[in-house]
Symmetry: C2
Subunit: 303 residues, 2 copies
């Protein structure tokens, strides 16, 4: 079952023809999650044929406009298109006030419920879980409180080994216990070892989102071994002083984090509009960490 | 000198591929005015090569999102691009609070001043004038307080009649008085009649904006003889009950207003997303008033 990220906007605060500001659509084993929601995100979703009503969770990193100015419009369009299914929005405390003030000013009552979960970029926390996935938040280091997010599959069940099961005539009633790694006692009184009848579980995949932030070594434990890390790379090394002053990262710094956290793949984004292209970002990141990609608007990345 | 309107969005609340929600850019004898500012308006301005920094006045009709959700993003982009020139925004009182709350949440101090002029759709009022133009507001009839706007050139000076002036050897010192319609007394003590030395002034052009509103006969005096009337035409006659219930107009009702006000030309817009095209709107309007156009996104209309 798919776990993938579609980049809706890979630019920084100033949108360009090529890169809109930040938004990403994540599909994780049937769950639909929007991360950040710059102005125009609803148009990009429409262009890509992504049905907005299937979005269940919206994660907002922080209250710089290039990360959420499209949220109230998206909510309005969900309403106009007849949504009745609830929506959960995770983000800074003030977000609820901002959205509600605008909805109230319009005098329209939404036909669906929004649950706002306040997250103010100050601690690691599990914010959602169901049978299949978990969503965690963790603090980034930016000019205002900013949340990183980690979406991961839960640890999966072991695969059954059909040959071994058949050979020893293990009854089906025990299969679920075996898949969960339990050693069941058969009717005969015999205790069997699950390892004999199972194969290793598929790995649980994970995706981490870090935008906007200065280089922050505190993130490494949380990012450790993720399959895909999206990390902002607003600047090239040439402008690393500017990165420091504005609490952003260079591409090389993002790669240093990826390397230290031993992630499988690094996706760079949030590029400043000052650069005509990102060849230098890529080169500088690759000098540190080989498995790196430049995020492009409307591209989908499999995890 | 030009007086023209560029339609940035001609659709209703639900944006479509073909029609974005409401925004218009008006150039009036060198003054740059934005009317309404739906989400994505800044992208449309960029596509059309309209420099956002030259916008001096922004007129907001009301606080339904399809008329102003792009305003805060436009302001942010003006800031990021280094604006230092002041900006005046006319609109409902609550707009100032909505915009300021979002700017403050982002923690950025704007490098230019915004003057908010509260207008709450309750009376006819002159809201701006300079040497060349006037901007008036007038109340529309919608579900929430909504402002119409009238932009017009000031009454122009008379043209001089060079032949008559030369024939009677009228000194140049009196030309400005004559242009203003004054009858000056010459050094000789003779009083001259300005009509003898002037030709009629060029007509002062005018543009009126009415979105969103139910059919409202009270508008007629204000709209009387305007060169171009933009009037919403959300619905066809088939859905006139829906128009009434939602405080909108049909194309035919818009044409009835245009006819009664004896405007020169009618521009219809704010079309509901339910219609695949606007042929019926046009036909129904033309049955009442011949000089009617269907607004199209990115089109410019000369006044």
């Amino acid at each position: 079952v798919d776990f993938k990220v579609t980049v809706l906007g890979s630019g920084a605060a100033l949108p360009t023809q090529k890169r809109n500001a930040t938004a990403q659509f994540v599909e994780c084993v049937g769950r639909s999650i929007l991360i950040d929601c710059a102005e125009g995100t609803q148009y990009r979703l429409r262009e890509l044929g992504i049905k907005i009503q299937k979005i269940q969770h919206i994660l907002i990193s922080h209250l710089h406009g290039d990360h959420y100015f499209g949220l109230v419009g998206l909510i309005s369009t969900m309403h106009l298109l007849g949504r009745d299914k609830g929506l959960t929005i995770y983000g800074p405390t003030l977000l609820e006030k901002i959205i509600k003030l605008q909805l109230e000013a319009g005098g329209n009552q939404l036909a669906f419920d929004i649950t706002f979960i306040p997250i103010d970029g100050n601690s690691n926390k599990l914010i959602f879980e169901d049978a299949k996935i978990e969503i965690h938040t963790f603090p980034l280091k930016h000019r205002i409180p900013t949340n990183g997010y980690l979406i991961k599959e839960k640890k999966k069940e072991l695969h059954l080994n059909p040959e071994a099961l058949q050979k020893d005539q293990i009854p089906k009633a025990y299969f679920n216990l075996l898949k969960r790694g339990v050693d069941p006692v058969l009717d005969s009184g015999q205790k069997i070892n699950h390892k004999k009848y199972t194969l290793p579980a598929s790995p649980a995949r994970s995706y981490a989102f870090c935008s906007d932030t200065k280089k922050n070594l505190d993130l490494i434990p949380m990012l450790s071994n993720v399959d895909l890390l999206y990390h902002e790379a607003t600047f090239k090394e040439q402008h690393k002083d500017r990165a420091k002053a504005t609490y952003h990262s260079t591409a090389k710094q993002a790669a240093e984090i990826a390397k230290a956290a031993e992630v499988k793949k690094l996706l760079l984004g949030h590029f400043s509009a000052r650069y005509p292209n990102e060849e230098t970002h890529l080169k500088e990141a690759k000098s540190i960490f080989e498995e790196v990609l430049i995020a492009e608007d409307s591209q989908t990345y499999m995890i």
